[in-house]
């Protein structure tokens, strides 16, 4: 491979990883923006999402990579599975908020955050104990269509991944900017008490935020499976930590920041792996996390300090 082909290939890979991290980072950042809580259960909502999507496809008769679909049936199936998965993980996130975290709202200190770690372990162990520790061969009905640019390859699955991510992010942007509930979310993030005083039902805003963030994590879970052709009870950890880093890099609480941070972390992972060494990937990523926290804790797009007027 020529050097430009290597670079192109790694950019394609990086953007793909980045789109997935961005979807995952959005859940962290939205919840943090609203109630200043890092939700570590998010890691494993993503993992559960990849299992739910796989089970759905298995129920419909798609196991492994042997049943291939083309054209409309493929799009139809993917949209169906995507929507069902997002609804399921969204509901899971809402349940976690309602019964796991709401009672702890307003409790100072680290109790709510520690609780999310506990909830994360529950999800992790439920999947481990019910499905076993082995890596699962993912159901994937996508044909192996590819476009070649020299030796660099762009596959259909990458195009699908970018398409799904971009559509979901545009939908989220529209929702937050234009709808009444989106405005209520912005208001709650900017000043919770003032939001209450204009009649916003803050409890409802919080549970819907968890729902949306978790639904996006479910979408990322499906994408992970289709991209790598496998899933496992353990995938939440690495991807979750990197997505969390992406959220911090972009500016925790900032939605465009999470998208930007996700793409940057994806590119750093693929390019760093190529030009330094794959075994240094995590060192690079978490060094960035440390450097951001030390030198620019508000992140790339974060605000200097919350403005209380």
């Amino acid at each position: 491979m020529e050097s430009w082909e290597i670079l192109l290939q790694q950019v394609i890979n990086g953007l793909s990883l980045g789109a997935m991290y961005a979807l995952l980072a959005l859940g962290f950042t939205m919840v943090y923006g609203i109630i200043e809580l890092i939700n570590f259960a998010h890691f494993n909502i993503f993992m559960v999402g990849s299992f739910i999507a796989m089970w759905l496809m298995q129920l419909m008769g798609f196991t492994g990579q042997t049943h291939i679909l083309y054209g409309l049936p493929l799009v139809g199936l993917l949209v169906l599975v995507l929507c069902a998965t997002m609804l399921s993980t969204g509901a899971l996130g809402a349940l976690i908020e309602r019964y796991g975290l709401r009672a702890l709202r307003g409790v100072s200190g680290t109790a709510p955050m520690i609780t999310t770690i506990g909830l994360s372990y529950i999800l992790f162990n439920v999947i481990l104990l019910t499905t076993g520790a082995d890596t699962k061969n993912y159901s994937n009905p996508m044909p192996n269509i590819r476009w070649e640019f020299g030796d660099a390859v762009l596959r259909l699955r990458e195009v699908m991944l970018w398409g799904v991510s971009v559509v979901l992010m545009i939908a989220l942007h529209y929702f937050v900017r234009r709808t009444k509930m989106g405005k209520a979310m912005q208001a709650t993030a900017q000043d919770q008490e003032a939001a209450r005083m204009v009649g916003v039902d803050v409890d409802r805003v919080v549970i819907i935020t968890f729902f949306i963030g978790s639904a996006l994590a479910g979408a990322a879970g499906l994408i992970f499976g289709l991209y790598y052709n496998y899933t496992s009870f353990i995938i939440g950890y690495t991807a979750g930590l990197r997505a969390f880093t992406a959220a911090v890099l972009g500016g925790i609480g900032n939605i465009p920041g999470a998208m930007l941070g996700g793409v940057l972390i994806g590119l750093i992972e693929s390019l760093g792996g190529q030009y330094l060494a794959v075994r240094w990937t995590d060192v690079i990523i978490f060094s960035i996390l440390v450097l951001v926290l030390v030198f620019r804790p508000t992140g790339l797009l974060g605000r200097a300090a919350p403005t209380k007027s």
């Binding site: 405005k183 912005q186 208001a187 008490e193 005083m197 009649g199 209380k308």
Partner: protein
């Protein structure tokens, strides 16, 4: 030494819109409001005077349901509202202009106004209320696309009042409307408060600027460390020696 005004002024007052009956509010162990009674008549301007930590802001938070009283009754429009969440109280017509404005700093002025109408869905009425707000505050109209956090203090106060009016409230609860404003602006704000009141909105106002507040109010209460130590018509409070010394800055002639 609780002093009370002559009882006849009570009976001349209008039927109550908001009433506190023996309300006790606590922050943890701290007893903030001690068996407090207030009454805001329909169409009145009522002001609450008091120094720092007297319980003024807690009174506001109790009306809005941000803190709940431990005992006693809060009645609004003839119905007890102690158990209602804040959103429901706003829906029923109680709108706050909170201390320090509390605008949404990263929303535009227009978006802030629209948030004021959050509990409403009558689109055309909301538009006409917007025009009403622009009529009261022509300056707001010039700043609609500006982020609220970048406005001056006086402009923020206007937007905060405008936002509250967008809820089409029956009762406007204002916490220190003159705080941090230049004297010229204070006068303007109080003129507008009177105009709003003339349009039919009752006003309950917490204020340090007793002179200004009593000049437009119908009735007043004086709060000291959580107890109502004095209440009466605005005129009788202005004439009261203790009020003059403590809040109007006038020394008693020797």
């Amino acid at each position: 030494m609780p002093i009370s005004d002559a009882p006849q002024t009570q009976s001349q007052r209008r039927p109550p819109l908001l009433e506190f009956n023996d309300v006790n509010t606590y922050y943890g162990e701290l007893h903030v409001l001690k068996s407090v009674n207030y009454r805001v008549g329909d169409g009145e301007i009522v002001c609450l005077l008091g120094g720092n930590a007297s319980g003024k802001s807690t009174t506001m938070k109790t009306i809005l349901g941000i803190v709940r009283p431990k005992s006693g009754k809060v009645t609004y429009a003839g119905q007890p509202i102690d158990r209602l969440p804040t959103a429901e109280r706003v829906k029923r017509g109680i709108a706050p202009v909170p201390e320090a404005r509390r605008l949404f700093p990263r929303m535009t002025v227009l978006e802030n106004l629209e948030m004021g109408a959050f509990t409403r869905s009558d689109t055309t009425e909301i538009e006409s209320d917007k025009e009403r707000v622009f009529g009261l505050f022509p300056r707001i109209k010039e700043r609609l696309t500006q982020l609220a956090g970048t406005l001056s203090g006086g402009e923020q106060q206007m937007v905060a009042m405008g936002r509250a009016l967008m809820a089409r409230p029956k009762l406007l609860c204002m916490d220190e409307p003159s705080m941090g404003l230049s004297p010229a602006f204070v006068e303007q704000v109080f003129d507008i408060i009177q105009a709003i009141n003339k349009q039919g909105t009752s006003i309950f106002m917490v204020e340090q600027n007793a002179n200004m507040a009593l000049s437009i109010a119908d009735y007043g209460y004086v709060l000291q460390t959580g107890e109502v130590v004095l209440h009466g018509s605005a005129q009788s409070l202005r004439d009261n020696e203790m009020v003059q010394q403590a809040y109007l800055g006038e020394m008693k002639a020797q």
